[in-house]
Symmetry: C2
Subunit: 332 residues, 2 copies
Amino acid sequence: MKCKRCRRADAAVDLPSHHAAFCPACFFVFFRRQVTEGIRKQRLLVPEDRVLVCVSGGKDSLVLWDVLIDAGYETEGLYIDLGIEGYSDRSKEKVLAYAASRGKTPIVVELATEGVPIPEAARCARMQECSVCGTVKRYFFNRVAAEGKFTVVATGHNLDDETARLLGNLLHWQRDHLARQHPLLPGADGGLVRKVKPLWRVSEVETAAYGFLKGIDYVTEECPMSEDATSLVYKEALSRIEDRMPGTRIVFYQGFLDPSNPLRKRPETATPEDAPGADAAHRTEVAAEGGEGTARTCVECGAATFTETCSFCRLKERVRKARSLRATTVSR
Amino acid sequence: MKCKRCRRADAAVDLPSHHAAFCPACFFVFFRRQVTEGIRKQRLLVPEDRVLVCVSGGKDSLVLWDVLIDAGYETEGLYIDLGIEGYSDRSKEKVLAYAASRGKTPIVVELATEGVPIPEAARCARMQECSVCGTVKRYFFNRVAAEGKFTVVATGHNLDDETARLLGNLLHWQRDHLARQHPLLPGADGGLVRKVKPLWRVSEVETAAYGFLKGIDYVTEECPMSEDATSLVYKEALSRIEDRMPGTRIVFYQGFLDPSNPLRKRPETATPEDAPGADAAHRTEVAAEGGEGTARTCVECGAATFTETCSFCRLKERVRKARSLRATTVSR
């Protein structure tokens, strides 16, 4: 089969959801255009932005960094070493190698040094690993961005991630989560930096193809802690539907983002003045810290929070207490 | 494992979505209660109703008829012979046998006699078989009910059917279809009889178990025309999610039916006065006939329609024309 764009070279990537097949060169053009269209449609970035790209070592975040560099954005990479034996070392290696290939040195946060390596923190706090990981990442993404004077934080969530999350939220009618879900979370007073997901229009398969054809070396293993994640169940269900009805995912997500969609409004506060989604979203995100009322700063670390101490500092304290309890027990 | 209800007999039906397992006798109690609760919660039926039960010969509709008879409702069965070779004969046989076992004789409509056997009608009208079948069934359900002075039409759609339809409507954000989807479609002027789905709270597995344990003999084969039906793709996707997370389906559907769900309102007409769902639903159903404005009666058959001729009579006319064209061609 010939490339549908240049009609000369052999097609290397088949994309049924776009009724297209491309040669590598034309696929790069297509993929970059999908990402920049996604950025433009949802006004995620402006040319003057200083972008902090959160890189895990997986394909999505490295491809995101690659596309943003090529598109001329000023970027730095942030790698958070989760302290997961083996997996964290292997992913850090990939991040450092990719960064070096682009003449970059990523910012690295070591959760072991910060006192909250994920496996131990989850045990100590008696929480799900994925939940602890979310709290910790959210915290450092924002803190590193605010301290480093970045104007925006970018993560590598793709269309498969976003639609899996959307399906889960719809199956349980989590109205607050639905109002919060958006490729753009605007910044807010109290040091909350804007957060964007520039890959929202491209699928996992497309991102993987881009990474492969570009020769980006990434970790292919899933995080060993996420094996039971429910999001994988939703992702698989949507994959089966997409296989039978190509294009379903993008229709599903774009229809959800449509400003006329009444689910973009928060249940309690839905008024005509309520912006469709994004503004309400960040307020909800901060509210997810666990408190209500007026935003203030964490007495421990100064981060934006609705409670006296932010959720990260509360987690850290639980880990510290569990450790000293263990130390006491052992020394007895 | 012992029955979770009587704690004496061995459990025969395992229901992870209800964290329960029942012996046959207790499962009957459970199942009937689920159906009557579904009827009560959505006010589907009143004791005085004369119910026309649409029976296909499959498990759902025969189980529905069985439960309604046992619950003391005045019922008659309506069987529509679709004119599908082999399949129609086998299903009619099951309907007649079941009806006889309850001392009943079902009303039978033969589509071949009516001039619209599904396979030929679909070919002549160049439409999907499932689409033609929907039009024809909707027409006869209502006509037989209106002529026979029935107060309500009941169909055997179960929770799996309704959630598959809901998922499809959400994946494509079909707002009009979403507003229309409800276990209750109230009657309306112009001879539109109320339509209800009393099995909306019970799953396919539960219905099959009830049919099996009650010794109801039903056709197990799927309609040969529906093999590619997209609803099967959605059903399968939801089954996989339900297997991993029992109870997802009922949470999904009940959350959708919640009157506070903004999707229960029609997009164009959403106002605070708009009833959540049911009322808007029937208007949309009639509008689906293909016209807009004020309801009137079909010039051909007198059925309620928004166009001069109802969609059934238009279909019949297309079949008639295609037939006479063929006859002319052959005789030449």
